[in-house]
Symmetry: C2
Subunit: 283 residues, 2 copies
Amino acid sequence: MAELLKGAPVAAALDEKTREAVHLLKIRGVRPTLGILRVGERPDDTAYESAAVRRCEKLGIEVRRVSLPEDVKQGALLAQIARLNSDDNVHGVLMFRPLPVQLDEEEACAALMTSKDLDGVTPGSAALLYTGAPGGFAPCTAEAVIALLEHYGVPLEGRRAVVVGRSLVIGKPVAMLLLEKNATVTVCHSRTRALPELTRRADIVVAALGRAESLTADCFAPGQTVVDVGINYSEERGKLVGDVDFDAVSGLVAAITPVPAGVGAVTTAVLAKHVVRAAGGML
Amino acid sequence: MAELLKGAPVAAALDEKTREAVHLLKIRGVRPTLGILRVGERPDDTAYESAAVRRCEKLGIEVRRVSLPEDVKQGALLAQIARLNSDDNVHGVLMFRPLPVQLDEEEACAALMTSKDLDGVTPGSAALLYTGAPGGFAPCTAEAVIALLEHYGVPLEGRRAVVVGRSLVIGKPVAMLLLEKNATVTVCHSRTRALPELTRRADIVVAALGRAESLTADCFAPGQTVVDVGINYSEERGKLVGDVDFDAVSGLVAAITPVPAGVGAVTTAVLAKHVVRAAGGML
């Protein structure tokens, strides 16, 4: 059985540093504050929001919640973004996506100040991530993958990492972050041929396809570390499952994240860390 | 002996379309114009500038050349960039880099308007390239690699491409462009272990390390297409050589670009195409 790379200990270690940084900020008179901007009431969003708020409260981070009706107009959304941008008491913003179809998501993302863009949705953040320049915020889930690997001492430099998926939320940013850590990075996707051949030769496989249990045992080999970013509800199994067929794969590889309680458990801890960094804390 | 993927026919094919687009623009009263901004007199820059000017003249594209002294101050450079930005008769700008050390290159690049950034040096261009959004300009040399592969009918979709090098001028942008073409892309670099194993399994190898003849025959396998972006002066051999050991590799692979007269011969044709696109031509 593979080592189980649970998210909770990673989040706890991140939180310890964040709490200390919050303390130091408050001594300097700064009250780190997260703005949350939500349109509508999607259960995924509200569940994540609750988790983020709980973590922030626990860490002494304040939260300013802005929720807009499902049918909000673009102008009203942009006005809220502008308010959050100009409010010096809000250090960073999490805006839930996807936005309802009547809204121009690209324009909304671009309207957010890069320095407050805690989840890496703006063009400015994309440019910093791609170029490897300091100062930007990567999407929290992508950074959670790296935090998890580093917490468990998985070597990255010079190792072969295969990222399955090329979304802007996970696949591409994880690839950039792994490259920044000097891993040799391969990005696979729906058009990739003979995927199992590629993933089997990796030291690290990051699964971010968004298809339930689609990476089966033939994709893996002994000794590998597997990070499963997928969170899918399986009708068949009546529970949440990852993109990896955990039952078959966990007996084969060296280490694997569970779903749930793997990467997903680290994401809000990364968000809290980003709030503190945006507020000027040393993290 | 491998098929020789020369750059000249690729450039000629690009030029044919560019010439037609210039013609159509002129009928609409638009005179496509390239601004060239050069600081100092580095021989590499002046040689490239001459080649670019010759190609533009041949295609009916006008060129506005701005050359500044080697010891120019940042303010004077920024003033020139602002002038080029605001000049509606200049459709796009090529700014030579690296800039002399007294200058803040990052600030200078960011000062250029993204819509006029023909060589992909601004954060705005980086964001468009990384996200795969339309409308931006990739660095000309990176796009030349793709143009060359497409000209010679090398299939990209679903194929394995290994890019050796991760610079912002070639390695990373080529990787992004190949990914956009649905190739499966691996980025290798100085910290990559067992590089030959990785390159040998690729369908396409793009060499952009900047080290003379450093990819030797053991890195390649029959059937591969090799694009050599390196241009190095070999003291030993008294001539320009690529990053690939051409003499040893050309007998082994299916197709390979020569150095010189390979990718390098396509770059100014891509630049000219970018001028026309920036001027509103359909390319």
